[in-house]
Amino acid sequence: MRRALLVALLAGSLASAADLEPAAPGHASARELALRLHDDLGAGLAGTIPTVVLEALCELDHERFGKDPGELYERFGYLRTKDDPLPVGVTERRLLGVRLRNYNCLACHAGEEKGALVVGAPNRTLDFTGFYDAVFEAVRERAKDTCGRLKLLEAARRYHHRKGELLSVAEGASLLAFAERLAKADLPKRKGEPYGPGRTVVVAAYRRLRFGMDAGPYAPVKPPDLFGVRARSSLLWTGNERHAEGTPVAEKIARNGLLVPWVQVHPLLEKPVPDDVIVSRIDRHRRMAELLAEAAAPPVDAKPSERGRQLFVERCASCHGEYRQEERDGKLVTTVASYEEKLVPVDEVGTDPNYEASQDAEFARRIGETPIGRLYAESCSEQAYVARPLLGLRLRFPYLHNGSVPSLRALLEAPDKRPKRFHVGADAVVSRDACGYVEAEPRGPRSALRDTTVEGNRATGHDYGTDLGEADKKALLDYLRSL
């Protein structure tokens, strides 16, 4: 009886975590969000996976991939809103009768809080590269020869039979073609340990696939939040892209979206998508970008102490700006009062240098020479990280650009006192008090251990506020949590 109750409770908690309310971001309408949730942004075939491939893998290996693609996505931390069969940011288009899946900005740039979708928050549970690595590897190992590919096709047929459907000839052919192509593809070998939930590959894939450069150092990075973009001039963690004065923020987002590697390069494509085709997609990107530009962190209930605000002004504001907080409808709404983008040299801030180092001068030069790069006023290598606005900071753990510090509480500890290893992901344990992950065994399999002793994962630097007393740290943390 007790066991049955426990199972029921666990099932309930999982269900509530999976089915989010589709909250509207900022001033954008719910209708606009609904239109963008699965908008493929005109990405063409680059990066697509036939849906039938995912179905075949689920049929072959329930234990690893779940019983259907919905479960597969959930296992890799994709979010899902109520009554929506497709996860947030997953797209499905039909071409010649073949369903093709891809992703859009919202897969990484929509998180959750209190059971609601929050557009603009990073999705800290999504193991984006883990998903693709697992799917590609599972197909590759079965697709080495005709007999293996036929067994994949058999699995797809069984899946459809189980659903009372017949697999169409076109979809069967797409499965075989995808599998054969993947088996022959020269996929890049990733450096170092897996990126894990809440981080992704950006520069390495770009360097190797687009420019034929070496992949650069192991440099995992979080998708940046979009709450403070209106206050910023550049948008990247490094501030390496410069936009002309007066460029609307949505335009900046749209341009940067074009840079997402798999919009234009993909291991299965023999050559990158032509530049003019990529640039022609910017209108589709603009519509998504307008939604993202409206992103705002949800207001909070509690008002922080004045002491916390004072400490913030004294210790943090010179880099991170100042904020206005006012009550509206019983909630505390935060907006930027003043912020001037500040690039802090890597040597000064002391945080892990790999991500910045992966964008060296040669990389910046090559970006600048692409038609996308030419949309910028300048593409440079600043050897710095941007001190970002801190709106919605509570939704952005683990902290620093590489997600190397589990919580705000840990960030207020001296770097050598910060946790060396901690779990991240949908099943990792989260503490509201610490504002982030805590060192504890995860509740389930959707988690990964982050080892900050590895180069690229270092939790060094940004030791501001670490000298405060315990009471002041608590007050400052309360304030940071309220932003």
């Binding site: 190992e141 080495k144 007999c147 058999e154 000839v169």
Partner: protein, 226 residues
């Protein structure tokens, strides 16, 4: 995994006549086997016939490694003559039929797919030989009769099953059997412990194999080489 059983012989023969007529096998025209005109059409027709999902009709393709072993047996009957022969993964039956043709004391074909057993039985009859067919997964269990010659062709294409099958083949060799194994580029075939006996270029179905010709290599176990 259980699949719908094959229909009665008369129904199965009608299906084969329509979609996979008997024809001389490539490289071994002395043997006739059922060969799919279009593998996918045959697969669909067979599933429609029994109203369920079937394993791919591996039994309607003269796989290049299989016909290569059959060629070796026909050219050098000494491998099989007067020996108890076991064909692992009998498929359409070309290897077991070749063993029977050259005077094996017994020719046994095993397969996990009951359709393969039915089709191989029909093919053996049409070739005027008798083979014994057993539904068995040698990745999971020992054969019910100790063989003197083990024949294994184009089997190692699944990561999970390939090492299990190889372990079984090694165990049979350790118990005194001679092994002839052949491969035409399957994903998980390993040549460790094997000696090359012969190489053949075999014409294959382009829609199935993605090429008009495949190279098949026949090996024996190195412990069988005196």
């Amino acid at each position: 995994m259980s699949f719908p059983p094959p229909p009665p012989d008369s129904v199965l023969e009608r299906l084969l006549d329509e979609h996979a007529p008997l024809a001389p096998a490539p490289l071994v025209p002395e043997i006739q086997v059922y060969q799919a005109r279009d593998l996918y059409d045959l697969w669909g027709a067979a599933e429609k016939l029994v109203g369920g999902v079937l394993s791919p009709p591996f039994w309607a393709v003269p796989w290049p490694a299989g016909v290569a072993i059959a060629r070796v047996l026909l050219d050098a009957p000494v491998w099989a003559r007067a020996r108890r022969c076991l064909d692992v993964g009998v498929g359409g039956g070309v290897v077991a039929i070749a063993a029977a043709k050259v005077g094996a004391s017994s020719s046994v074909g095993v397969d996990v797919d009951p359709w393969a057993l039915a089709v191989a039985r029909l093919a053996a009859a049409r070739n005027g030989v008798s083979i014994r067919l057993v539904k068995q997964d040698l990745a999971e269990e020992d054969p019910d009769e100790t063989p003197e010659l083990v024949l294994a062709a184009d089997l190692e294409y699944e990561r999970g099953r390939a090492p299990l099958l190889r372990t079984r083949l090694e165990a049979l060799v350790a118990s005194g059997a001679v092994l002839l194994a052949a491969d035409a580029g399957r994903g998980f075939f390993k040549t460790e412990g094997l000696r090359l006996v012969a190489t053949f270029d075999v014409p294959v179905s382009k829609p199935v194999e993605g090429a008009a010709m495949k190279t098949a290599r026949v090996y024996c176990h190195e412990s069988n080489v005196s």
